[in-house]
């Protein structure tokens, strides 16, 4: 359990490895700066955690209770708050800035965010069903086919894949490599793609590797 950072997806590009000349696909992420807005300790809250705020906004965008909470930390109005559970929070203090330099090049990270919303999507887009014939008298162009047996059981089993809302859900992409860091601009270059469109809020934290104590 270590502290992560909130960021914004800026877009994708590719860069080249100077030695081998291989093109590396990277996502450019604005990571922070985040402000420590609350420190939760065992005595006060029963567990240890750090609350970070990201993306400064106009005061009128927030409610009075939200503004009051941020004022306690001496932070400017911030849109997003996120908690990171830690084993020890004594190294941090209220109002401290967390920047992209908590990561290093070559480190593995987990990136969470909302995927692109696709609205009410059909069988092909949502579940990769095969489509029917488009011609030769066929009318089952994008239909699901059979959804199950007949009189017995006389119902459709729960969990049957059907059309419906697709995308717009939180997804974590695990173990992505940090290719480069720009500490001046707080920009991370992460190998591969991350959820959502440019401008989406991302939660970036050191990779959680199963079987390895963080």
């Amino acid at each position: 359990m270590s502290v992560g950072i909130l960021g914004t997806k800026l877009g994708m590009t590719q860069i080249f490895d100077r030695e081998t000349g291989v093109a590396i696909p990277v996502t450019v992420v604005q990571a922070g700066p985040c402000t420590v807005t609350q420190i939760k300790t065992k005595q006060t809250d029963g567990y240890e955690a750090l609350q970070l705020g990201y993306e400064s906004v106009k005061p009128k965008a927030l409610s009075k209770p939200e503004l009051g909470h941020l004022e306690k930390a001496g932070a400017s109005p911030l849109r997003h708050l996120k908690e990171y559970r830690l084993s020890d929070v004594s190294a941090y203090e209220l109002g401290q800035e967390i920047k992209a330099d908590i990561f290093s090049a070559g480190q593995l990270v987990d990136v969470s965010g909302l995927t692109i919303g696709r609205g009410f999507a059909g069988y092909q887009k949502r579940h990769n069903f095969r489509r029917g014939l488009m011609s030769h008298g066929s009318k089952s162009h994008r239909l699901p086919g059979s959804t199950g047996p007949g009189t017995t059981p006389g119902r459709i089993f729960p969990g049957k894949k059907m059309a419906g809302r697709y995308g717009g859900t939180q997804v974590t992409i695990r173990k992505l490599e940090v290719v480069r860091i720009d500490t001046e601009q707080n920009v991370l270059l992460i190998r591969g793609s991350v959820p959502g469109k440019p401008g989406t809020l991302l939660n970036i934290r050191p990779a959680n590797i199963v079987g390895q104590a963080a």
Binding site: L10, G11, T13, Q14, I15, F16, D17, R18, G21, A23, V28, Q30, D182, Q185, V187, L189, P198, G199
Partner: protein, 121 residues
């Protein structure tokens, strides 16, 4: 800085400034860096530019040549460090942006592109 400007500034470090002006139909010699058993050398590849794709750091050209009666096409990522050098040998006169019709042509004469002299090498 906005997102677009940040991405451009990252790409700027990798974009080559010394690339020649390449038009469709030109004959070019591309120096390709090749690693063989720990040794690196530059291998030339010569042919006609039949297509250009994408822009900025993703820009590529497709170079076609006929080698031992077999058509060969290679796509080069222009800004890649593996592309060591590009030299324009001959300017061609063509009326298309994509010369895919050359793939269907057979014979030396039919695949020839007229040279144009109003563009400098």
């Amino acid at each position: 800085m906005n997102a677009e400007a940040i991405i451009r500034s990252i790409e700027a470090e990798y974009i080559k400034s010394d690339l020649p002006v390449i038009h469709i139909g030109d004959t070019v010699r591309v120096g390709v860096r090749i690693k063989e058993g720990g040794k690196e050398r530059v291998q030339p590849y010569e042919g006609t530019v039949i297509a250009r794709r994408h822009g900025g750091i993703n820009e590529t050209i497709t170079v076609r040549k006929v080698f031992q009666g077999v058509g060969v096409e290679r796509v080069f990522l222009l800004h890649s460090p593996r592309v060591d050098s590009i030299k324009v040998l001959r300017r061609g006169k063509v009326r298309r942006a994509k010369l895919f019709y050359l793939r269907d042509r057979i014979g030396n004469k039919a695949t020839r592109i007229k040279q144009r002299f109003d563009r400098s090498l």
